[in-house]
């Protein structure tokens, strides 16, 4: 480590290496986002309202394009309620009409009642534009790390610290 500090050229190279790693991850995320046409193509399940299908910490892959068919009843969608910033993963249970202004109603498999209570005041149904993607792929548990980071923010600092340190410590 000390040797790298003595050699500014090497220190700069290591810093660039770290920046490259970060920007590659960012580019892959944004690329996936463009392919799936979704602002957030991979989400982590945060609640148990879709159990036993999805548990907390499971990773979901979203697809937001209607290439072959419209978003339909039975699909599991992720939506944002106007004015709230928490994405919700629930199943579409009713659909009235077709096109961009079809009225959609959702419900969690594990909930007794539909989502009318969760929607914004005066909102009885979702529009297609409220939905940020339909679930197409599933990997269990892998996303639990982010829940841990969310609940214990200091872990994030430690993690970034270790990552940065590793890159600087590594030669070449």
């Amino acid at each position: 480590m000390l040797s790298s500090l003595q050699n500014p050229r090497q220190a700069a190279a290591q810093l660039l290496n770290f920046a490259l790693m970060m920007s590659t991850a960012f580019m892959m995320w944004k690329g996936l986002s463009i392919a799936a046409d979704s602002p957030s193509p991979i989400v982590v399940v945060l609640s148990g309202s879709m159990e036993p299908a999805f548990q907390r910490g499971d990773l979901l892959f979203l697809w937001n394009r209607n290439l072959l068919a419209e978003t339909d009843v039975g699909e599991v969608v992720v939506y944002n309620v106007k004015g709230k910033d928490i994405p919700i993963v629930h199943r579409v249970v009713r659909k009235f009409g077709t096109g961009a202004h079809a009225k959609l109603l959702t419900k969690g498999d594990n909930n007794a009642a539909d989502d009318t209570e969760l929607y914004a005041r005066g909102q009885d149904y979702l529009d297609r534009s409220d939905i940020i993607g339909s679930v197409v792929g599933y990997i269990p548990f892998v996303g639990y790390v982010t829940i841990m980071f969310g609940e214990h923010p200091w872990l994030k600092t430690v993690m970034f610290g270790i990552m940065g340190l590793l890159v600087v410590l590594q030669r070449e």
Binding site: E51, P52, A53, Q55, D72, V73, G74, E75, V76, R91, V93, R94, K95, F96, G97, T98, K103, D109, N110, T116, D124, Y125, V135, V136, G137, Y138, I139, P140, L166, L169, Q170, R171
Partner: protein, 225 residues
């Protein structure tokens, strides 16, 4: 040079690679299992009543209560990668007559789930939202089996719907051209979520039958008493 951090990194990297490859192979194995689902469904008793969306609402709406009989064989959908099967029955009908647009009559434009059920695999019984007594019974029914295709056989007679459906306008009485459809959604342990298909795809056949005869909703039932 090899120091302990390097080695730890290599081990972790190798572990994730292996884990993802194994997961990908498991997910791909879904395509090697043939699927031959079939179902017959029939509306047995149809009723329309007036009610309120919830206790504190003064809005009066019409609700359709559609009883049905269902016989389904979905046992081929249970494989080692099946976590649960979500079976749902929808009522589907074309646009309301009041908003009739020429040429749109043939499309099924309204769809509502009237009944659904979650069938867990024996491997995911512990995740189901059921009481301890029911869980014990369920476990016993599949003792020693990790995959239990017999759970995919459904036989319901004159089943009461779980959801009483209405339309955004609150009027559903006398709706015509209504049909009931059986659908399913296979939730895997890892991989792609799949639904019933409209067409055959490799080893996966489309749902045989699974659509009821066309029926119409009656007028609002007169108040009793």
């Amino acid at each position: 040079m090899y120091n302990s951090i390097n080695r730890l990194q290599t081990v972790f990297g190798f572990f994730t690679t292996v884990a993802f490859v194994v997961a990908a192979i498991i997910a791909a194995s879904d395509f090697t299992a043939p699927r031959t689902p079939s179902a017959t469904i029939k509306a047995t008793n149809v009723q329309v009543v007036k009610g309120r969306p919830h206790y504190y609402s003064s809005k009066k709406e019409e609700y359709a209560i559609i009883r049905f009989s269902l016989d389904a064989d979905l046992s081929s959908l249970f494989t080692w990668n099946t976590k649960q099967l979500f079976v749902y029955v929808t009522a589907e009908w074309p646009a309301a007559p009041s908003g009739a647009v020429a040429g749109s009559g043939t499309n099924q434009t309204n769809k509502a789930i009237i009944w659904d059920t979650i069938i867990t695999s024996p491997s995911s019984d512990h995740l189901a939202n059921i009481g301890p007594a029911t869980l014990k019974k369920l476990r016993k029914s599949a003792a020693g089996k990790s995959v239990d295709p017999s759970r995919g056989k459904l036989s319901l007679k004159n089943q009461r719907p779980k959801y009483q459906i209405t339309y955004p306008t609150g009027k559903v009485a006398n709706t015509e051209d209504m049909t009931l459809h059986v659908h399913y959604n296979v939730q895997p342990w890892v991989g792609m979520l799949t639904w019933d298909q409209d067409f055959d795809f490799a080893l996966w056949k489309k749902m045989a039958k699974g659509i009821s005869k066309v029926f119409a909703l009656p007028a609002v039932a007169p108040k009793k008493g």
